[in-house]
């Protein structure tokens, strides 16, 4: 199976992280996949750089010298700056997450993380701004999902889905063309923030795949190795 490559739009990213090695690594990695990335190594620099609003997504470490990550976000939000923020933190527990999101963060990723997970989340965050979130009918190729009537069609055929499968497909289609990781699915479709030891998500995906792709020459739901899944119209 050929890996499907996501269609990337160049983003401007700011990494605020006090560990210079980690910051350099992230900047380099983001540049390699075609984004523009800058780094700040303390909270005050980060706030100054983020304030002019030129970035699409901010990646902010929770513990920063001079100005704490959560305080930085609070400052930005108080100024009316609504740039999406992803919080990185060594504190990975549920209540830390809740605190981070309450402080104005848009997503939360505990350390250690994989770059593919971070990239997937950052791309989803940037797309969220004026993205497809509000559309009532989602389309990928000849797959159509109607959020009002809760109907799904592939070409002429009606696809019947369980409620959870519908939400899974809805989330994937909302982020069509983007990599969606297993933990993102677990968080957004099931609302769980723990890591099930066995890969239960894979089984749900293969079920969904058998319903929407089986019997069609052009598969839409792709597995991105080492990262997650993506729904994409491959015929384009």
């Amino acid at each position: 199976m050929a890996d499907a490559q996501p269609d990337r739009v160049t983003m401007r990213l700011l990494v605020v992280e006090d560990d210079r090695d980690a910051a350099d690594y992230l900047v380099k990695a983001f540049r390699e996949v075609g984004h523009i990335a800058d780094a700040a190594t303390d909270g005050e620099d980060g706030l100054a750089m983020a304030s002019d609003g030129q970035y699409d997504v901010l990646i902010i470490d929770r513990m920063l010298p001079k100005l704490d990550g959560l305080a930085l976000i609070g400052n930005l939000r108080a100024k009316g700056n609504e740039t999406p923020v992803l919080i990185l933190s060594a504190l990975g527990q549920v209540d830390d997450r809740v605190k981070g999101l309450r402080a104005g963060g848009d997503d939360y990723l505990p350390k250690p993380y994989s770059f593919s997970e971070l990239l997937a989340r950052v791309e989803v965050l940037s797309r969220r701004r004026g993205g497809r979130g509000e559309e009532t009918v989602l389309r990928v190729g000849d797959l159509v999902l109607d959020r009002m009537s809760r109907e799904v069609r592939r070409g002429e055929e009606e696809v019947s889905l369980q409620p959870r499968e519908f939400r899974l497909l809805e989330y994937l289609m909302k982020h069509a063309g983007q990599v969606v990781t297993r933990t993102m699915l677990l968080e957004n479709v099931w609302d769980y923030h723990f890591d099930p030891q066995t890969n239960v998500i894979d089984v749900h995906i293969s079920r969904l795949r058998s319903k929407i792709d089986k019997g069609f020459s052009q598969p839409l739901l792709h597995t991105i190795r080492g990262a997650g899944y993506m729904i994409r119209d491959g015929a384009r």
Partner: protein, 473 residues
């Protein structure tokens, strides 16, 4: 000096001092009061006697004039142990009596005075001191004066006897009290020293040490017994902790070693890019497993420390059972296991929904792992897992029952411990922390995890108090 200083600084000794001071003051007061009272009583007696004599003598004077008075006074003065008498004319010439060497002017004031005198029968310069006396001067009609008095020596002697008795008794009380205090203090100090000694060795790392108990059942014994119980508990915890850290060391070092070996081997052997890629992918997979183990350990520590109590809300345990089953159902089906959920009515409970969900997920995950039919074998029974959530009294029971091999009764307590995996399950993937986490979550909520025989199979039950953990004040 230091030993003595230590003795003086002890509470017992300080208490002894306070008690002693109070007691000595009380004794001194009592004896002083006694002495003063005795003195007053004697004075009263003297005045009564003198008054009676004056009355009697003035009666004689009234009946027989000065001659009769002089005779009466002479007769009385000659009696042994007599009072003091003096009869004078209006110009102070002595007519009768037994005293002399009166201070000048002693006869001029009427009424009571204390004077110094000498008896007539004593020589003038014998060197013997003059005596004190309490006298009354009485003016008789016709210008004569009558002095009657009593010697005060007896009174003073008695007063001094009582005073010195008081002094001695206070000194004895203080000396005996101090000695007793020192004795008691040293005894107590010896026991406290023994306890301190033991404590030192325990602090030095020997947790098996216990404080000495004298067996008298006193407050020190009770203290020692309680401390011993505490030590027992600490020792048990430390042993547990050591076991856990040994297990952690083993279960983290093993994958770390694999990780390192794999990287090393890739460096040594791999030539082509796909080979490197495969080695790196395997490395990442291994480190992900490690991260998962770490996360689970942190989660357990978190649950055990009670920090997650802040996040408790009201939720429906039946809904959690349904959700988790829905999450695992495709996986179970793929493995040919029937996963059923029996949670009809709502089972509201107060707690951390996320943690309870994870605990139930762990149990279901375990059940799926262990009741999977053996490879190729056409199992004589269909593997089956039933998840139930019911209210029972003031508790909510969430059970996960399978019909797999189960766990021998002897091992059921052990498997809940961190990293314990039974020999036959070593081949299964997993961190060995699933049951530990479920147990920690149950404890966090003030409930418990029990493992029972499902005949056949294992039945794991998480019991949670409906109202959440009771806040221990």
């Amino acid at each position: 000096m230091t030993a003595l200083g230590k003795l003086f600084r002890t509470t017992t000794f300080k208490l002894t001092l306070v008690y002693l001071t109070v007691f000595a003051l009380f004794a001194a007061f009592l004896l002083g009061y006694f002495a003063l009272n005795t003195r007053r009583l004697i004075t009263e007696q003297i005045t009564d006697t003198v008054n009676a004599e004056i009355t009697g003598l003035s009666e004689q004077y009234r009946l027989g004039g000065i001659r009769r008075l002089v005779i009466a006074v002479d007769a009385r003065a000659r009696r042994p142990g007599s009072s003091l008498y003096l009869v004078t004319t209006f110009n102070g010439e002595a007519l009768a009596g037994n005293v002399t060497a009166l201070p000048p002017g002693a006869l001029d004031t009427q009424g009571w005075t204390e004077i110094v005198y000498r008896r007539l029968d004593e020589p003038e310069n014998s060197g013997k001191p003059e005596h004190d006396a309490l006298v009354r001067v009485f003016q008789l009609p016709g210008g004569f004066r009558l002095l009657v008095g009593r010697d005060l020596d007896e009174r003073e002697r008695l007063y001094h006897i009582v005073l010195s008795a008081g002094r001695w008794s206070v000194i004895i009380v203080v000396v005996l009290g101090l000695a007793g205090g020192l004795f008691v203090t040293r005894r107590v100090l010896r026991r406290v020293d023994a306890m301190t000694e033991t404590t030192r060795t325990i602090m030095g790392g020997d947790l098996s040490g216990r404080l000495p108990v004298a067996g008298t059942g006193d407050e020190l014994d009770r203290l020692a017994e309680n401390l011993n119980m505490m030590l027992e508990r600490i020792e048990a915890l430390m042993v547990g902790l050591k076991e856990v850290s040994d297990n952690i060391a083993h279960d983290l070092k093993t994958p770390l070693t694999r990780l390192r070996n794999r990287a090393e081997q890739a460096l040594r052997v791999a030539k082509t890019e796909p080979e490197y890629r495969a080695a790196l992918e395997a490395t990442i997979e291994e480190s992900d497993g490690l991260i998962g183990t770490f996360n689970a350990l942190l989660m357990i520590a978190r649950a055990e420390s009670g920090q997650a109590r802040d996040d408790m809300t009201e939720f429906d345990a039946a809904e959690v059972a349904h959700d988790i089953c829905e999450l695992y159902e495709p996986l179970a089906e793929e493995k040919g296991i029937a996963l059923k959920v029996e949670a009809g009515t709502a089972a509201p409970v107060r707690g951390n929904r996320e943690l309870v969900s994870q605990a139930v997920a762990n149990l279901v995950d375990n059940a799926i792992k262990y009741c999977e039919p053996p490879e190729g074998g056409s199992g004589e029974r269909t593997p089956e897992i039933a998840v139930r959530a019911v209210s029972e009294g003031d508790r909510i029971l969430i059970s996960v029952a399978d019909n797999g091999p189960g766990i021998p009764e002897a091992d059921r307590v052990r498997v809940v411990e961190r990293f314990v995996r039974l020999e036959q399950s070593r081949s299964q993937p997993g961190s060995g922390l699933g049951l530990s986490l479920a147990a920690a979550v149950a404890r966090l909520h003030g409930g418990e995890l029990t493992l029972a025989d499902n005949e056949p199979g294992l039945k794991a039950v998480i019991a949670l108090p409906r109202g959440g953990p009771v806040q221990s004040a």
